[in-house]
Symmetry: C2
Subunit: 337 residues, 2 copies
Amino acid sequence: MKRPLATIKDIARELKVSPSTVSRALKDHPDISKETKRAVNELARKMNYQPNALAISLKYQKSNTIGVIIPEIVHYFFSSVISGIEDVAYDAGINVIICQSNERYDREVANVKTLLANQVDGILMSVSKETEDFRHLEYIRQNQVPLVFYDRIIPGFVTDQVIIDDFEAAYQATKHLTDTGRKKIAHFAGPQNLLLGRQRKAGYQKAISEAGLTTGDELIFNTDSFEKAHLTILDILNKKTEIDGLFAVNDLTAIGAMKTLLKHGVKIPQDVAIVGFSDGRLSGITDPSLTSVDQHGYEMGSAATEMLLRRITSQKDYPAETRILNANLIVRESSEI
Amino acid sequence: MKRPLATIKDIARELKVSPSTVSRALKDHPDISKETKRAVNELARKMNYQPNALAISLKYQKSNTIGVIIPEIVHYFFSSVISGIEDVAYDAGINVIICQSNERYDREVANVKTLLANQVDGILMSVSKETEDFRHLEYIRQNQVPLVFYDRIIPGFVTDQVIIDDFEAAYQATKHLTDTGRKKIAHFAGPQNLLLGRQRKAGYQKAISEAGLTTGDELIFNTDSFEKAHLTILDILNKKTEIDGLFAVNDLTAIGAMKTLLKHGVKIPQDVAIVGFSDGRLSGITDPSLTSVDQHGYEMGSAATEMLLRRITSQKDYPAETRILNANLIVRESSEI
DNA sequence: ATGAAAGCGCTAACAA
DNA sequence: TTGTTAGCGCTTTCAT
């Protein structure tokens, strides 16, 4: 009953030629006669012959496959990164194995092992939030498997990487608020153990001080989720802390803040202008729509993949590269005038 | 310079034993002496030995890998499906190769070929919107590779499948509106060439007629996007078509409608109650938050994977199964009272 | 123009 | 307790 995929042997047997002849005929080798080629190709089609990629990978010691380690696929940003990776890889005839670390270190280590066991030709990764030990990365390097970081990097670990200029983007976002006359601009900041959180805060601070405004900590809140934003806003309203602008570390936070402000009769953008940092497609659909930094996940994925493929195919070694994509501000209703 | 992954041979050579001894020692075979095992395992650890999964797959004629064909990863629903798939597969020690069809037939066919070439043990797929020819699916079947459809199925193509009861969900969603006293309930319907579009519309119609309301076509609109919803609402307002409820085929459409209605001073939910069909995390963040059907993408992914793994490991054949997940309505502000 | 043989890394039946 | 050998599917060098 079981009728597994046809192999070169099957074709050879049927045609009473040797496997090597079939192999050559299939790749249009000049030595093989027209007649044989015709017969082989015809039968191959008829038998739905599909070369066994595993055998080829084993033979050539390369799998035409790259591995991706992603923290959590259910974030729009990361899924669009994957989309960019997939498209570039597909065009190059490269397969992609995707592993989720779910932001856990142990999973990440297991992912690395899986990918290496499967002989991937290269790895794209964004480190998990938990990762603080780099032995698994050294391990990748020992095995001479090219590694490209995207989005989240490890300062000091030298390898190709493509990142967003979080500092600059945050600076531009905040500057947009100061430029439009806001004077009391709050920042809802992300975790300060993540580079991203620190850089966005630093960008905010630079714009604030450039505008000659005070950067006292009383307008900076550790608030990075929809729910926390709700609570922080309540607190701000209670204490009657005056604000006329807000730059939030991500869109959900910005939207949570906006919703709570609106509920309390605060007008957006008249009373408070709000800028987020894009998590995805949320910014366009809120009311008012949200001014936000677009992170270009797709471009990040495609750029990282191009770097990796270049590294894989390159004969000679060359220094690690860092590609910085600039994220641009998209002004929408929440900060207009 | 190039120091590839250590192999069993390397270990054998170093220890002056045969590769088979190493192989057995590594899998704790009872025949091997404690001493040898110890030495082998120690050296293996030191050399960072990682079994070559390709070689093992080739040997055993099974790859411990399943393939997933997904229309577009950047939809929250699909990415949460993948998350469910990944988790179950990970727990079973199975790898996952993900391919995007990007809703294109030719890509889908290429994906199938790639997966078969890579000797996947099974395939999970949601057919693309373009797919109308099933030869590639027959091809999967010929090769005896188990196939499970999730979410989107092909009526008449018999295989394991897990779907959502769109009809029932739409019925419940609409019934919620009639139960709360709405009398003029519009439906913004999806493409009627997709089963999903037809079923959601049919569910709507059942609830409407059960409530003794008219199901005239004047309240059904082919409107399935944020932008189209905006235009359709403008049209409704212009023509002064009276509505006090709306069931939309997806959340984005519902949100587009809500935003435009609010802009024109229509109160939600007082004047018009709105129910969507979940695309993801949008429903919770709008203002008012949106009542919506939760599609449970994660559960769909994990259920489909369980079905597939069961099929793969099963010795004997059994009839194709259809698992219907019920999507449940989550009532939020847009339809309260 | 075609075939035989070896080998990629691993395992397992069979020998010793 | 360990080694030898053959084979998974494919390619390629070296014969013929």
